[in-house]
Symmetry: D2
């Protein structure tokens, strides 16, 4: 059996989450997130964000969450600015466009947008009714390339969004892994105050599934549940989401699991650097993008699963290794050994 | 604490399902339904339907499933015929229209469409490009009013759909409870051969969540996963769905749980009939729609939750009581007692 | 050559309109409605409506106008209430749904909605996020059945819309013919003050094409040109619309042409009544819906074109005869004669 | 009064077109393009294309035509490849996305796509259901930058589209001006055989308005009128389009007018070259994109209207001058003189 490093959702959930689901299983609760567990989880998250005016909703997966938030925010003549590598632009089968909205994809470096790019786009569009009106900025943190925003970068993006009346939306599918990175400068209160809306990913960080959407923007709060229902995102047994987020947030499990993944990634990163492999992108989070010779990748692929990201030249590919809350120390050891072994043959 | 009879998704899942999730929890599998559990569950369902050419996909919830199937089936000038009480017409916040398709809602009796109505609609639309082109028929079994189709009715609908090149889609969110009803004439092989696509509901019948979509129509099979992804319905940890459906279908759990709900409903029905309450609709499934005086309903509401469906006159309402796989005998006893007590005061 | 009475757009335009187009033909103007003719036409219409704060935009056709106004008014979880006979519900190939919005069609009498129906629908939907949120009321005047609203009916609709924060939209594709009817109680200032948005039809009333959209609602005014452009409704040579509406409105041509059509219709109506034909709907506008024996219709069809509307029994159909600005007295005489002749054979 | 060179739709129509509209004005015809004029115009166009199996439909404007063709061609998980400068990507307010489809914009040189780019995109997308499925290629000829495809380029695009089962769509809003260019290698029979669908622009080439859509692809032919109606593109008095295209195509008026525009452009181009102004893009059609010092542009702007396209450095802009069927020799002389005068001050 191969060891899987190709993504951060290869296992189920942290055992404490399953335990809690088992304990509460036969309790009767109302449906659609109107239960005490969702309420309690929302309170915990508000507390973490140090703002009890935030609205918190729980959804099942990332693509659904992105489409719901974006459709709730935009009218049909408005578009969302994002990095051309953004998940909504590349890997959601046109979910945003299927809702009627244009993704205004900008060329980017290392998966990140800058405030300057946003401003330039707004100025270029002006009041020209022949062009889509920019109304939202979508960023992810960590990005699809594992990079993270600095405090200054996020604050500048927030400022430019307020200047041009744009809604700032942060996709935090892997947020825990960003916050646990060595070079991280962000925290939840800062994110909650800079963004109009963001989400805290559970699926990739210890839950069976689940994303907690946190809304500060008053207009977005109104009628948000209509959008959730319409997009198929109002889970009948909503409590399953509430229970999971309570477990993650009531006594630090989310942070603990995130830190574990980063430790595992750091170990791999150290070996890759030691072996002088170049990286497609440098980052300090749980996704690593080293560039290896195809011949070595073929040998690695006998025992490990990883993702091919990009052909970098005729004989090399950039690949992706992910660690996660579930990554076992022993498997990381095996991969490290295998990497070292590549050079010895 | 009140006892909840307002819907059939007040509890978690059958304990065997949770056990199986716990047992498999730390196994590594690929994501998005491409794991051995989903494959095994699909095979079990094909076997139950006696047709191994069927495509089976697993989704999280009903609204999402309906929107995905319908959008995959229709082009934008085409519409879906349904009963005016149909879930897609009333209780999905316009999810079908949000995908660009008109719901052609027809007045119906007891939640059911007839082949004759379908034919009449097709003839009325003809080739008139000023009107939406009917291309799909959506039925639910049991319907939103708890009624079920006879074998003849389903076969006639299937015949008229083939005559006019319409796709027949059966929403089986509560399918188990239909198949377990005393007057049921259908079975899975018949449904699979009559319909182009249908789904077997897990959420309301013992699973934490999950709907198994079964596709016979070749054109619909092609690219169906693109639609699942776009609508946010490709669960990252798809195996959670596979594992649940294996548990439900490998040794008769689904039928067993469905029968339990029907037994519980039959007991309630017998008492209501004995007490001479009229019904909004007569049916033999797990949803009961008795009509009671408001004054009695107020007394019942002190101890029980149920749904108000419709005001039938100045002093009466039709309400809904649901039983489910999880309904406890003792709670049914309490409700029976309370109903009998109403008359004695 | 048969004489056509099947609709009110069988001819080109009133000659004065063509003259004006010829006179201005080689002038250079900016595109997209930003020319002096559109500006002048807008001013004339504001003056007619006695409100110079109104925004006026010119579009080419009715379906496009309906879709643009409705999409500009609604967010995707909101729907538009209309009579089940409404043009947007039946004869626009799902254009509203293609933009993502549900049409909440209510059963109606003679093509008209009542304030009571609207209120009942709002109450039934309440704040239930499982149902589409009603946000707009669409009426047509004259309706698709040629009936018109009384002053009291329109004022009540306006009041209920304000009570429930709904946008009232009046489709005036045949507005001139309504205003010219003997029993008409409305005028442009009243319509402009009761409705959030309405349009004055040119296509059916003397222009080559063109509908003048009049907007009172401030939120709708904002960004309306974005919607026009996106829906393909910003005519490159927008001046063609401005010039036509100037001609219609600068010295009473619109009223004059409308009155002509009504005189022609009244003559036909008188003969049909004299011959004791029943009507599907009684009205005083330019569309007549008499019910005739099929055998007589076959004879009429040798010399005249008219529309079959509805089979009323095994041997009769309701048909539609339209008059218009272009209907010739001599052709009406021929039809009257033919009708009288039917009885004599 | 300034002389307008900013676009090619500043005037009305060629006088012969208006004459014909006047002559036929009071004839009675059926609506929606089902008249003898549309039929005759379609036959003329088929003849020009040397293929009488083509379907021809007439629409009012370009944005509407693009949205209609693209929505008729694509299902919601499919996208359209285009140059990033393509009109559908930049200047149609997201009309394609509003219909639910992603525009897959590729970086391009001089407004043109290559077969190689298309192939690379198809290979990158593969069968990955997480990405939009490429299904159509949109090109314009002339492009938005006035460039044209060579015969070989068009044939290669056609071949790659057939290889990957893509629909090739050519936007010919300015097609006449492309065919009349000195370096043109295309003709209508070639275009009709290479493309699945294209259109011949009337609005910018002598008509009041109108685009003739020519369809070779059998699947696209089916139900196309439904899409036209739904998008508001089935003109009530469709004959207005038929009459205009008859006039343009029955005795060479379209070619004649196109050649006039090119002659006018060539004169301007010669002067600009003589004065050593660089061009943003070199082309031989009716749009010129010279780069001038801002100071000179300010002086020109006193007497002439033109479009600012792009700031090329701190003191220069690329601007656009258009000629058209209506451009007067004397106005070109004035502009030439003014250009020469710039250097003399």
């Amino acid at each position: 059996m191969k060891i899987l490093f190709q993504c951060d959702y290869n296992e189920g959930a942290h055992p404490r989450i399953l335990d809690r689901l088992v304990q509460t299983n036969m309790e009767q609760t109302p449906g659609y997130g109107e239960d005490i567990y969702c309420q309690r989880a929302a309170e915990l998250i508000c507390k973490k964000c140090q703002d009890d005016t935030l609205a918190v909703h729980f959804m099942v997966g990332g693509t659904q969450t992105n489409a719901t938030v974006i459709d709730a925010a935009l009218r049909s003549h408005q578009g969302v600015i994002c990095a051309d590598t953004g998940h909504i632009n590349v890997h959601e089968t046109g979910a945003v466009e299927a809702m009627g909205h244009k993704v205004l994809a900008l060329p980017c470096r290392d998966g990140k947008l800058t405030a300057e790019q946003v401003e330039k786009t707004c100025l270029a569009h002006g009041d020209n009714e022949h062009m889509v009106q920019p109304k939202m900025v979508y960023i992810s943190n960590p990005t699809e390339l594992g990079t993270i925003y600095t405090r200054a970068e996020l604050e500048e993006l927030s400022a430019v969004c307020r200047k041009y009346d744009l809604i700032l939306f942060l996709d935090g599918a892997r947020l825990g892994y960003g916050l646990a990175a060595a070079d991280n400068e962000l925290d939840l209160p800062l994110i909650a105050s800079c963004c109009d809306v963001f989400y805290i990913g559970g699926t990739k960080a210890g839950a069976l599934f689940g994303e907690a959407v946190v809304i500060r923007n008053e207009a977005l709060k109104r009628d948000f549940r209509y959008y959730m229902k319409q997009k198929g995102g109002l889970l009948a047994k909503g409590r399953l989401l509430g229970i999971q987020f309570i477990t993650l947030f009531e006594d630090g499990l989310y942070e603990e699991l995130s830190e574990h993944a980063i430790r595992m990634a750091d170990e791999l990163r150290a070996v890759l650097e030691e072996l002088n492999y170049p990286f497609l992108v440098k980052n300090g989070t749980n996704q690593l993008f080293p560039i290896l010779p195809d011949e070595e990748l073929n040998r690695l692929a006998e025992d490990f699963e990883f993702n091919y990201e990009q052909k970098t030249d005729e004989t090399h590919h950039a690949v992706r290794f992910c660690t996660s809350w579930a990554t076992r120390e022993e498997n990381v050891e095996k991969l490290k050994e295998a990497l070292r072994g590549l050079k010895q043959k």
